[in-house]
Symmetry: C2
Subunit: 309 residues, 2 copies
Amino acid sequence: MSLTVVGSIAFDSVKTPFGERERMLGGSAVHFALAASFFTDVVVVGPVGEDFGDEEIAVLDAHGVDTADIERVPGGETFFWQGHYDHDMNVAHTDDTRLNVFADFEPKLSQNSCESQMLFLGNIQPDLQRGVRRQSSASFAALDSMNLWIDTARDSLVAAIAEVDCLLLNDAELRMLTGEPNLARAARQTLALGPSVVVAKRGEYGALLFSEEGSFAIPGLPLEDVRDPTGAGDSFAGGFLGYLDGVRVRGEHDHRSLRQAMVYGSVMASFNVEDFGTARVAALEEAEIAERLAEFKRLTEFESQSLNA
Amino acid sequence: MSLTVVGSIAFDSVKTPFGERERMLGGSAVHFALAASFFTDVVVVGPVGEDFGDEEIAVLDAHGVDTADIERVPGGETFFWQGHYDHDMNVAHTDDTRLNVFADFEPKLSQNSCESQMLFLGNIQPDLQRGVRRQSSASFAALDSMNLWIDTARDSLVAAIAEVDCLLLNDAELRMLTGEPNLARAARQTLALGPSVVVAKRGEYGALLFSEEGSFAIPGLPLEDVRDPTGAGDSFAGGFLGYLDGVRVRGEHDHRSLRQAMVYGSVMASFNVEDFGTARVAALEEAEIAERLAEFKRLTEFESQSLNA
């Protein structure tokens, strides 16, 4: 089992009502890889500049993430994002984006990253995502995207979605993609585009999974300490796909494993938001994952006896 | 077992992207009573005008709701609300409110309505809610309110909250009441005001329960047909408290019954929104409730086995 992720590797400067941090390790591929590393072997593909040092690589190394396919661009600078959150932590406000080496990124998979059984296409231009999908021999591919590509490259995005097995988007983006305000209908229309699984991420409200076999919903954990939601969606995807790749040896993805995967995604996202950047997930102990899984169980469990039972 | 509800009885004119209806039977006490009537005996207290006819009373009668305490004001007109919803059905836009007989409402409980073991104070001025609470000998009282009273009568509302066992509010209203943007903290601060149970209603996202014994979260059912969300919160409260009153004969409210009650509240709210006004709940068959309970179970169920199990 192994899982390749292609996406951004970044420095993030973030300010929230609970503090401020400069140039933290971030990016969709990094948040994804750290979360997924608790469940399976992960290979990261993405570009960095000369400002990306051993210290950053060491964070990934410490989790057994394969960093051999991280491409260091001579004379380049790493992708940089600066943003802030007000009291509504569901909404990120971007203050500065410098694509730097990410602007000319043309992902090329190595023999090793091609051969992963599972592929995650982090949020990059959809034609690049399609190029990666064609290079990969993965039997299961998932894709994340964003409002920018729905606005500026909708046809490419729809083509990319048709070529993957699973789409993960925010609920507002699913509505935007389909032009359908009802989420259940939007998800059905998205399934008709090709994927067998559609996941609607809903921030603090949790996440919903739609497939031909039915729907699954998991609420968010009502956390008292939410410091920085940056990367929560990628940590969700990392827990979700990492778990699926980890259990794949036991057979196909049935609806039971998809449900479990949704909970592990939620577990990893819930850790992600508790501290700035990758701090919480990078320092996570395996036992904490089991504890939080039990917390989600306690949060959602009820008896199914009917009135007259 | 019996459950008294004090609140508005209204005519509602509603327009949504899915249609338009004039002067439908509505109001918090009506939506609540119809939903609760599937679980326990319900007594409705509230004022109506001379325009409120036998046809409206018949809808309540058909569900065994005790309408003897509905006060008909000579020469008066029934409370009227007109509103619309755009594609975001979570937000109601008010176009007209005529309080009519509701403006001078001074609730007086009869011997019968005083003696209910459970009391629901629908969304009315908080000093009126306190007056009703004092008249009632209910051993369990719950209260709903709204942003208007948080803005204009905060001290009265806080005093009313201190005198009940359970508070139901929208999540945004809980944040507004406490001035605390984090919902889990807002709920903890609200529990400190007096109630042993706080329920945060979250529209299509579901609902959260907070108590000393822990939290419970139920997501909303992803419905493809949402025609009119008016009254969904009151239908939720009706299913929630109706179930609790119905099982009360079996003992105190433990956390297990509170969880079940949250699911029955969600079941009744999910029916409420599927058609205009009270149409769907008024025509509901008991078997549909059991079916939808099973749907909620399928939607939320997952195994709790940990990674190494």
